[in-house]
């Protein structure tokens, strides 16, 4: 198992009058090379949950393991460096973390913090630049000259350069145009499939969840309220609507067709191509 949460609870400002519980008894496992999507409203505890994964926040109760690392309430900061290299974090609007004078230096910043020699890190930076779809001519430019979408790619390259085995993504496509969104999601999918990265994705985009995730966790008020495959979660649009969550368009569309007597022998389709598959299968011949 890549990631295991065991009864993890987290309280902000514990032991003060302002204490507010943000995570409550969360237990969850993600298999090796898994792709987990975490969905839920703003303030449901999604961000708190993913910050446990590299111990930016440590659980106040329970414990979690990420591959060979175990994080408990008493884990000390001295033990964290290998973990932080192992778990790469792409925060919302990650372009705001760029600060070096050249793109190459910025990408090399993380690896150097984890002990890589400068020359190696700079060479690695050039390599990462092409990974995220920018060519090597960008290396010596200032990040300031780039467009927002390009800056985000550089920031992601900076995280990938640390060679994480787990990649945590907090709404990585927010604010991008549809084309940028699609390219970005395809990049993560490639990293997942080709390099075997375990991916944890926090998102509001149900279409992306339906298309890419292998496992979905639904958070509400700090609790894990439902967990399963996309088919299990999205196969029940009424439950999603009752929880004020969006239903993928294809599922919505398929459910409307059900009212006209159309049946879905392979379960409610979640994407346009799955829907087309099932429709084609029952299409009248001739």
């Amino acid at each position: 198992m890549a990631i295991t949460f065991e009864h993890v609870g987290y309280t902000y400002q514990a032991d003060t009058p302002l204490a507010t519980p943000a995570l409550d008894d969360v237990s969850l496992t993600v298999p090796d090379h898994g792709y987990l999507a975490v969905i839920g409203h703003t303030g449901s505890g999604k961000s708190t949950l993913i910050q446990q994964l590299n111990a930016l926040l440590k659980p106040t109760t329970g414990q979690l393991t990420v591959d060979e690392f175990t994080i408990t309430p008493t884990t000390t900061n001295a033990d964290l460096k290998p973990l932080r290299q192992h778990v790469g974090m792409v925060f919302q609007f990650p372009e705001s973390q760029l600060f070096e004078e050249t793109i190459q230096k910025d990408i090399a910043f993380g690896p150097q913090n984890f002990g890589m020699a400068e020359t190696d890190a700079l060479a690695l930076a050039d390599q990462m630049l092409t990974q995220v779809g920018l060519d090597a001519s960008y290396a010596q430019r200032s990040p300031f000259e780039l467009s927002g979408g390009q800056m985000r790619r550089v920031a992601i390259a900076g995280v990938l350069a640390m060679h994480p085995q787990v990649l945590v993504l907090d709404e990585p496509t927010a604010g991008l145009d549809p084309q940028g969104r699609q390219e970005m999601m395809a990049l993560f999918d490639r990293l997942h499939r080709e390099r075997g990265l375990t991916i944890v994705l926090v998102t509001h985009q149900m279409e992306d969840v339906a298309q890419y995730a292998e496992q979905v966790a639904v958070m509400r008020q700090g609790k894990l309220v439902k967990e399963g495959t996309p088919q299990e979660i999205f196969g029940d649009p009424d439950w999603l609507r009752a929880n004020q969550l969006d239903v993928p368009r294809a599922a919505q569309f398929a459910q409307d067709l059900t009212a006209h007597g159309v049946t879905w022998p392979q379960g409610l389709p979640l994407t346009a191509s799955a829907l087309a598959d099932q429709l084609a299968a029952q299409w009248p011949k001739g």
Binding site: F99, E100, E101, S142, P143, F144
Partner: protein, 171 residues
């Protein structure tokens, strides 16, 4: 013309907010004096050096005043308004005229630091007697020294990140 002013006014306001936010958030303990240093000077000096004067004096005065109010020492707020305001004013005025690291940054900051240390010596003496004034000096020296070092590094980084800043485009 009015447009130009508005941009500068808002820039000064947001930089003051940044200085206040940093000072309240990041407090680095100095075991040697049982005191601590904040990033207040870094905010004031950086704003003053990059954007010159109305910005420098405002960021100094406003952040000095509000930091005291927000952190629960309002008895100092009027003194801080004047002292940090003067500090920002001096750094901005001197940095504005010269260029280069030492003459454009370090010397103006030394002058501003002198204003701050002497200012608080006088204010503390007035409030609590000259021994208290003397007692304020070592902590304040560390504070301005730290501010000076971080500012040099920060201004260098910022102007490399965005070369337009070194031309003082907003000034």
């Amino acid at each position: 013309m009015a447009k130009h002013n508005l941009k500068q006014e808002i820039l000064a306001a947001v930089l003051a907010a940044l200085t206040i936010a940093l000072s309240l958030m990041i407090v680095i303990p100095v075991p040697a004096t049982h005191g601590m240093v904040t990033l207040c000077e870094v905010g004031i000096y950086t704003s003053a050096i990059l954007f010159g004067n109305p910005v420098g004096v405002f960021v100094g005065g406003a952040s000095g005043f509000m930091i005291d109010v927000l952190s629960g020492y309002p008895e100092w707020c009027l003194f801080s308004l004047v002292i940090h305001g003067l500090q920002g004013l001096v750094v901005a005025a001197l940095a504005h005229r010269a260029s280069g690291v030492v003459r454009g940054m370090v010397l103006p900051m030394l002058a501003g630091s002198l204003v701050m240390v002497v200012g608080y010596y006088l204010a503390t003496s007035l409030l609590f007697g000259w021994p208290a004034g003397l007692a304020s000096i070592p902590g304040n020296l560390i504070q301005v020294g730290f501010g000076l070092v971080v500012t040099v590094a920060l201004v260098a980084s910022l102007t490399r990140f965005n070369p337009k800043l070194s031309k003082g485009m907003i000034r």
